[in-house]
């Protein structure tokens, strides 16, 4: 039917001697894009305009207040020569690498386990997923306490007789980032489970059945047949987790506030500190721009492929 509805915009842009009027008045004919106009204006100003402004600010002499004297990449050079920014970027690598890997593995394992015709599956899913509903400012209070060496797990272990037990990662410079990973995994792995579970449920059960008829073990079936089919879900999970990792802010604020010292600084906390606490606006803008570029490098190709494949599937 309505073939034009399925064609990409480029095809529709071909010269048309006569266009169909979709309404009788000018307004009537142009309603669809008029509807979108307010959002378009807001998006142009508050998304793209502000992005452009921030990028420009990162190349300006702004300090206490915006000063739009163009200074080129001076602030960027300064940013990258800062030890603290280096720590933040390094932390982002450690944090996002571990966070993505662990959350993906746990999410996948949970999804496979839940896919074994489990009783009370709904309840279990509810429990696994609820952290997603809570702000980390809320759960952070509990995490901070659980991880507190004097009061939390460590003292619990001591109570249980493991007098030598030590769990002081939260206050150790070299370990604190792992507590951030732990808390982040706790919050997000349920969601990854949901992505994988949805994907598993979408696999034709007859594939599993026929493989079983062929005498393959369950483990082999998952490893060789099922998991490879989850590739799109892996892709989605990684993109989302990376996006979460780069944006993580309240997580760090609530758990470590970037400390001990600067040990758990991430670009997001660095940006806030420089832009607002230290009134180094240009540096803050440069670090925000770095965050944007990092996310864009992943998201833009992702969105592009998602939108394209979507269009293809509509056309066919």
């Amino acid at each position: 039917m309505a073939i034009s509805e399925h064609l990409p915009a480029a095809a529709k842009a071909a010269p048309k001697p006569r266009t169909l009027r979709t309404g009788t008045t000018w307004v009537g004919r142009n309603l669809p894009w008029l509807t979108l106009l307010p959002t378009g204006i807001l998006g142009a100003v508050f998304i793209y305009g502000f992005i452009a402004l921030t990028i420009y600010t990162s190349m300006s002499a702004s300090k206490l207040i915006p000063d739009y004297t163009f200074v080129g990449f001076e602030q960027w050079v300064k940013l990258w020569s800062m030890r603290r920014w280096g720590i933040a970027v390094n932390n982002l690598f450690v944090f996002s690498g571990l966070f993505i890997a662990i959350a993906t593995v746990i999410g996948l394992v949970l999804a496979i386990l839940l896919d074994q015709r489990i009783r009370h599956e709904g309840t279990i899913r509810t429990v696994i997923l609820y952290p997603m509903a809570l702000s980390f400012i809320v759960t952070g209070t509990a995490w901070k306490w659980i991880l507190n060496p004097g009061l939390g797990i460590e003292s619990l272990l001591h109570d249980w007789g493991f007098v030598e037990a030590q769990f002081d990662w939260l206050v150790r410079r070299d370990r604190a980032i792992y507590t951030v990973v732990l808390a982040a995994v706790w919050q997000s792995s349920g969601f990854i489970m949901a992505i994988f579970l949805a994907s598993l449920r979408g696999i034709d059960p007859s594939i599993m059945q026929s493989a079983m008829m062929d005498g393959a073990s369950t483990w082999r079936i998952y490893r060789r047949i099922i998991i490879p089919q989850l590739r799109p879900a892996f892709f989605t999970a990684v993109v989302i987790l990376l996006h979460m990792a780069i944006k993580s802010y309240d997580l760090v604020i609530a758990l470590t506030n970037g400390g001990p010292g600067t040990a758990t600084d991430l670009p997001s906390t660095f940006m806030y500190d420089y832009a607002f606490d230290r009134s180094r606006i240009a540096i803050g803008a440069a670090s925000a721009t770095m965050m944007l570029f990092t996310i864009a490098a992943v998201i833009v190709p992702y969105l592009y492929s998602e939108l394209r494949s979507h269009n293809r599937s509509r056309t066919s």
Partner: protein, 420 residues
């Protein structure tokens, strides 16, 4: 312009003088951003408010509690950008100078001369009030940073006298440790890590050394033996803490001393304010002493109010009235009592102060005589905030990284300073 402004100021101050007598004559409103939202600070601002409102000036309060002034600064900055600055803004140390340089601050020189501020206010505060010959800010209160607060019962019980030298401090700490008491309670937040370093820098009793480090960041001094020793002392300090210190609020650290979990704690004189609010008494429940070795040194920080240029004669008059009210003798007396800081006027009656504050004032005088009355590095008074930021980041990392060597710490610091 200048003439006009001076005239306005004269008229305005005249109005104030009049209104002080007749009251409720002035009009205008006073739009103020500050972050004094707790304890003695809050009581102080309420006092100021009632004084101002008694003059018939409307007080519009935009207190912003979050993040030790962060939100207040954001709010101020956005309003400056929007061309709608408040009449009064709170600031610490060199913040005044930074804002003055942007050219948005008004001039109170006439009022300052009329009321003779520069004769009343201790000289070290002058550079923050007066930028390029123009008076832009008034100090509200100032504080000694190089204080140590001890739990008197613990000190007495273990027969430990107030340590006068660094070695005595080390010995005292050993005694407490042996008794199973945390020697020092510390709030492991970057600003606190830096604040206690102020105390270490003056523990050498060498004004020149402090000046070269805090004001000049003299590379030779930073690479020299005394600064090395300072870093060693910081390392030692970091080893006296309990494992829960990172991230702790300063009040919690004070509470540990109060509860007897720890023997002592380093913090500025606002920690005494907190103690008094908890019903503690100086010399009875707690003891106060300067960081060992710094009995004749005084590191200070001061809270200022500055005054952006705004439109409207009545509102300008309100600004002047506010400045006058802050500088007023009775207010200075009352406020320094409530907040447990030092008055910024030298002519305030000291009869009501406790021993710690009297000690502090005497120290300030002694220090001033030998050039040892020095502005804080940790709170960005001796250097701009970017320099202070490098110190803060480095020192905080150093404190929290037990295996970082002193050499490494110094190298990181110098690299950081070089990259500015």
């Amino acid at each position: 312009m200048k003439f006009l402004r001076t005239t306005t100021a004269l008229i305005a101050s005249g109005t104030i003088a009049l209104s002080a007598a007749t009251s409720a004559m002035a009009e205008g409103k006073l739009d103020i951003i500050h972050w004094w939202t707790s304890g003695g600070e809050l009581a102080g601002i309420e006092l100021l408010r009632s004084n101002i409102e008694a003059q018939g000036i409307e007080w519009i309060d935009a207190a912003s509690a979050g993040g030790a002034g962060t939100n207040a600064r954001t709010l101020f900055r956005t309003r400056v950008q929007a061309g709608d600055p408040p009449a009064v803004m709170q600031a610490l140390g060199t913040e005044v100078n930074e804002w003055a340089e942007t050219g948005i601050l008004g001039d109170l020189t006439a009022l300052a001369e009329e009321e003779g501020w520069y004769d009343l206010v201790p000289e070290p505060l002058h550079p923050f009030m007066n930028v390029d010959g123009s008076t832009v800010a008034v100090p509200a209160v100032w504080s000694q940073i190089n204080w140590v607060w001890g739990n008197k019962a613990i000190f007495d019980e273990h027969g430990v006298a107030v340590p006068q030298t660094w070695d005595e401090l080390v010995a005292a700490a050993e005694t407490f440790k042996a008794a199973g008491i945390t020697p020092i309670a510390h709030g492991g937040q970057p600003w606190q890590d830096t604040a206690i370093f102020d105390g270490i820098l003056v523990s050498f009793d060498d004004p020149d050394f402090y000046r070269k480090v805090a004001f000049e960041q003299d590379r030779e001094t930073l690479e020299g033996p005394m600064f090395r020793e300072a870093m060693e002392r910081l390392r030692w300090y970091s080893q006296q803490l309990d494992e829960g210190s990172p991230g702790r609020e300063w009040t919690q650290a004070q509470a540990m001393v109060l509860n007897g979990e720890a023997a002592m704690s380093w913090m500025g004189d606002w920690a005494k304010g907190w103690r008094v609010a908890q019903g503690q008494q100086a010399g009875v429940d707690f003891i106060c002493f300067p960081t060992p070795g710094s009995n004749d040194m005084f590191v200070w920080l001061a809270d200022f109010f500055f005054f952006p240029k705004i439109e409207g004669e009545a509102d300008n008059a309100a600004q002047q009235a506010f400045a006058s009210a802050v500088m007023e003798q009775q207010f200075q007396h009352d406020f320094s009592l409530i907040k447990n800081g030092l008055p910024v006027r030298t002519d305030v009656d000291n009869a009501d102060w406790d021993d710690c504050t009297r000690d502090s004032i005497a120290r300030a005088e002694r220090a001033n005589a030998r050039g040892g009355l020095v502005a804080s590095l940790g709170f960005a008074h001796s250097a701009r905030s970017d320099v202070q930021g490098v110190f803060r980041d480095t020192l905080s990392e150093f404190v929290n990284t037990p295996d970082m060597s002193v050499d490494e710490g110094i190298e990181i610091l110098i690299d950081g300073l070089d990259s500015l």
